[in-house]
Symmetry: C2
DNA sequence: CGTTGGATTGAGTTATCTCAATAGAAGTGG
DNA sequence: CCACTTCTATTGAGATAACTCAATCCAACG
C-alpha cells in the first residue's frame, strides 16, 4: 500500500509544515506567529475503515486535518441512500464549515487499506484566533467560498453529465489531489472503494466499474492494481470529462440536457 | 401578476428595512449604525426576462439584492447545457461569494412575467465594512456557510432522488421562500419558466411538466394558473420529497441508490 | 487453503430523455 | 377587438443510459 512506512512519514512531515486546504496553507507555522501553537498541538487519531468521526446533527467541537488515508463527508437519507459530498485527502482540513455549531455532514474513514490518520483540534481555539486576527478570519472565509465553488461545480457534474464524464472528471481530480507515489507518472492510488466512488458520483458500483473498464479499453487509463490508476491519455479523458461530443450542424443552443451518448459501448 | 402596484411597493419597503438572506437580515438599518449608509444607497436596476447581470469569469465589482421577480444563478457548459445552481428571490442578496474577485456563476433575470428589479451595490464598500467590523465579517462568513449547506442538500437531491422527489422538494422550498400572495393558503406564484425549473432540478421540461400533472392527479397540489401552484397535501408532498417508500422486510441498509419507483404512473 | 469482501461481468428492467405534435397564453399589429 | 405570431406548456410514443438482480472473479487474510 502507498500510505505506510516511508510514504506515511513523508506525508506527516509535510503536514507539520503547515495545514493545507486545496493547496493553500491554513496556518503557516512562522515562529512567533499566533497560529503556531494551534498548528503544533492536536491529538492524532488512527481510524480503521468505516469508523465514524462525527455524525450529522452532532455538536461540532473539533476540526480535523487528514494525515494519511482518506475521509468521506457524506449525507445519509433515512432509507439508507448515501451521498458522499466530499473526500478529504492527506493535507486537507475539514469540519469547520458548520452552521450554528452543528454538523451538517457525517465524516467517516474511507481508506480501505491501512489506517486513516487525522489530527483533531479544538474549534473553540480556532474561533478565538479568528476573532483576534481578522486576516486569519478572512482566510477561513475564503476557504469556505472555495468549497462553495467546488460544490457548485459538483452540482453541474451530477446534474448535467453522464457516467463517463463523471468518472473521467473524478479521475482527473484525484490525480491532482493525490500524491503520485505509485504507478509512475500520472499514476496514483484511489484511497476508497468503488462503492465510495459510486456514492460520490451518484452512480452504482457496477456502473463505476464498467466505466473504468471502458476507459481502459479505450486507452485513456491503465488499472495496474485494484486501487491503482494511471492516466494514459489526459487529453482524451478531459474531452470525455467536459462535455458530450458537439452535435454537427443543427446546434441546439438551448438544449440544456444531453448526457454523453453511446460512450459505454466499445 | 403579483409583483406590481401594491405588491411591489410592499416588497421594496421591506427591503428598505433591512437586506435579508434566507430570513436573516444582512444589514439591519439601525440609526447611526455603520451599515446604514450602505443599505440606503445602491442603484436599482430593472431587467427584462433573460437579461444578464454578469457572466462567469467576469470580475466581481458589485453585489445585489432582489426586490422583485427572480434571478437565476447558473453554470453553462460549452455545449449549451445549463445548471441553475440557485434561484434568488425577493429579499435575497447574491453576488458576494466570489473567489479572487471573479464570478463563478452567471446571473440572469428569470422572472418571465413583469420585470425583475434588483439593487446593485459596491463590493468594495462591503469589504471595507467587513474589515472595519469583525461582527459584520462574521455575518458574511455565516451566510456563506449557509449557502454551502444548501448546496450540499442540493447535491443529495440531484444525486440520490428521482424526478418526483426533486419536484416535490422544490415546491415545498418555493412555498416557504415565496410571498404567499395569490391562490390563497399554500398558494404561490413560480417566478420562472418550466425550463428554468428543469435546469435547476436537472430534468427536462417534459419531465417537470409530467411530474407536476401527476402530483395534481394525486391530489398533492393544485395548478390554478400556468405559474400558480397551491399545496393541497403538504404531508404527501413531504413523503414524496424525502425518500422512496421504504421496502418492506428485506431492508437494504446499504443500498445507496434507489430512486422512487412507479411514481409517475397513476 | 478456505473464507470473505470488494470488483467485475452479464442479462433484463425502467426512469428519464428525445423527438414530435398539440394546446394554450401572451403579445402584436391591423 | 380580433387574426396572427410567438413562446411556453402539455401530452404521446419510442429510445436509451443507468439501474437491479445475479453470478463469477479476484485479492487479502486468517
Amino acid at each position: 500500500m502507498a500510505m505506510d512506512g516511508e510514504g506515511m512519514r513523508e506525508t506527516a512531515a509535510r503536514a507539520a509544515a503547515g495545514v493545507r486546504f486545496s493547496g493553500t496553507p491554513l496556518m503557516a507555522v512562522r515562529p512567533g506567529s499566533a497560529a503556531a501553537p494551534a498548528a503544533g498541538g492536536g491529538s492524532p487519531l488512527s481510524l480503521t475503515a468505516g469508523e465514524m468521526l462525527y455524525a450529522e446533527g452532532e455538536p461540532a467541537e473539533h476540526w480535523y486535518e487528514v494525515v494519511a488515508g482518506a475521509v468521506r463527508a457524506c449525507k445519509l437519507t433515512p432509507d439508507g441512500r448515501r451521498q458522499v459530498v466530499e473526500f478529504h485527502l492527506p493535507g486537507d482540513v475539514f469540519g469547520l464549515d458548520e452552521v450554528d455549531g452543528v454538523r451538517g455532514l457525517t465524516a467517516e474513514a474511507a481508506a480501505a487499506e491501512g489506517r486513516t490518520v487525522v489530527i483533531r483540534r479544538c474549534r473553540r481555539r480556532l474561533e478565538s484566533m479568528a476573532e483576534a486576527d481578522p486576516r486569519f478570519a478572512r482566510r477561513l472565509h475564503e476557504m469556505a467560498l472555495r468549497r462553495l465553488a467546488r460544490a457548485h461545480a459538483r452540482l453541474v457534474l451530477l446534474g448535467r453529465n453522464g457516467a463517463v464524464e463523471r468518472v473521467a472528471a473524478f479521475l482527473l481530480e484525484m490525480e491532482t489531489r493525490m500524491p503520485r507515489s505509485d504507478a509512475g507518472p500520472g499514476g496514483f492510488c484511489l484511497p476508497m472503494t468503488r462503492e465510495d466512488v459510486a456514492d460520490h458520483l451518484a452512480l452504482t458500483t457496477e456502473t463505476v466499474s464498467r466505466t473504468l473498464q471502458m476507459l481502459k479499453r479505450r486507452g485513456a487509463i491503465a488499472l495496474p492494481g485494484l486501487r491503482l490508476v494511471r492516466i494514459l491519455d489526459r487529453h482524451l479523458l478531459q474531452g470525455l470529462g467536459e462535455a458530450a461530443p458537439l452535435p454537427a450542424a443543427p446546434l441546439p443552443l438551448r438544449g440544456a440536457s444531453a448526457p454523453g451518448r453511446r460512450l459505454l459501448a466499445a
